[in-house]
Amino acid sequence: MKIADGLKIIENGWIRKPKGFRVRFHKQTETGIEAGLSPPPGTAPLDSDITAWRYAWKLWKATQTESETGTPGALYNITVVDDQDHPFRFYGTGEFKTYNPKNIHGGDGQTTGEVHT
């Protein structure tokens, strides 16, 4: 095996390099809860996970009042996903993280705050 082939194997198999990041969330609207991504699909994703996590945290903080009252505009399950829509680990702890988690399908117990899963 040539060095170039070996390097290709390493590139594909060792550490996956995401092509970009988006913030995924559930948004409370007048009619119910909708899933969303920011930046939306079809637009350029963020190229930095640090920027994406900071953006997610600010979204959570900015909608905290709505989340507590459950009014339209509230954002739940705010997390960062990669280009394949897989949750991306928080760079600060190396673990998965969700701001303002809420069980959307089960419909029970809303909790505010951070959670590591």
């Binding site: 060792w14 550490i15 996956r16 390099k17 930095s48 640090i50 760079y91 600060g92 190396g94």
Partner: protein, 293 residues
């Protein structure tokens, strides 16, 4: 005396014959120049609003202004009595001479190694070139200051033009303590760079052991990123390195100097006070050794 009187008489005659034409031509020249200036201002403002980042706006506006001024001068000269055909000839000859000089002598003119819109470092000044004139270059630094730098000074300085390079190398220098797992630190640092989407795969990131210095092992991470992403990528990689090393339990080193007191009475003269020359030992050590002292 007679000469002066006759000269004044002739001047009076000229003024009688051509005074109106002269006044009209002068008025036309002044009003024309003012209008040209006003049109130039309007054109610049409009085009800058339409194409705020285009470097061709200034060039286009300069050409338009020169043409307007030339038209005003020609109109004033014709009003004064010059023949339009002669003025046209003069204008054509002047234009051709200027173009010829520009084409043939351009290689011999000292030219600046950048264009409007480039990000350059000239001497100690790092910023974006906003405009270039014959005398100076207007640069806007990243902290918002505008500098007017004489071109002759720029030509004497070493200039770095960041516009020509598509990629730049990021240096991640990290110092770890001697008792830390070197291989783990190398792997972690390489992983941080590899998983970042902005870091280029060719050439890929590399980690070197740069030096075994007196109080730390110096690691150097090297990777390449796009020129426009350089600054943010560099800061992000440093932030991630600090946090990931903390999570992995790899401890950074920092310079320190320890003082060991020799308490042996035979060497301290019985007073407990150290004797000069024998009393202290200076060494470097890690902070957790302090607990064992």
């Amino acid at each position: 005396m007679n000469n002066e009187l006759s000269r004044l008489h002739r001047l009076g005659e000229v003024m009688t014959q051509h005074g109106t034409q002269m006044a009209l031509a002068l008025a036309l020249l002044i009003i024309g120049l003012l209008v040209a200036r006003w049109i130039d201002k309007l054109l610049r403002a409009g085009l800058h609003r339409l194409m705020p980042k285009s470097p061709y706006v200034t060039i286009f506006c300069n050409i338009m202004y020169i043409m307007l001024v030339a038209a005003v001068i020609v109109a004033a000269a014709v009003e004064f009595g010059a023949k339009p055909i002669n003025m046209l000839r003069l204008l054509t000859i002047t234009t051709l001479v200027i173009i010829g000089l520009l084409i043939f002598l351009r290689p011999f003119f000292p030219s600046l190694p950048f264009k409007v819109g480039n990000t350059v470092k000239a001497g100690d000044l790092l910023g974006k070139v906003e405009s270039i004139t014959f005398l100076n270059t207007r640069m806007r630094t990243f902290d918002g200051k505008t500098f007017f730098v004489p071109n002759r000074q720029i030509l004497n300085e070493i200039v770095i033009n960041y516009h020509y390079t598509q990629t730049r190398r990021v240096k991640l220098n990290v110092n770890i303590r001697y008792d830390q797992d070197l291989l783990k630190a190398k792997r972690t640092l390489e992983a941080i760079m590899t998983e970042d989407p902005r870091v280029k795969t060719k050439p890929g990131p590399v980690v070197y052991v740069l030096n075994l210095s007196s109080n730390c092992v110096e690691l150097g991470g090297r990777c390449w990123v796009g020129n426009k992403q350089y600054w943010v990528a560099r800061c992000d990689l440093h932030e991630k390195t600090k946090l990931r090393f903390d999570n992995e339990g790899i401890r950074f080193a920092f310079p320190q100097l320890d003082l060991h007191l020799n308490t042996d009475p035979s060497r301290t003269g019985g007073s407990g006070c150290p004797v000069p020359g024998t009393l202290t030992k200076l060494s470097t050590r890690q902070p957790e050794d302090e607990e064992n002292v």
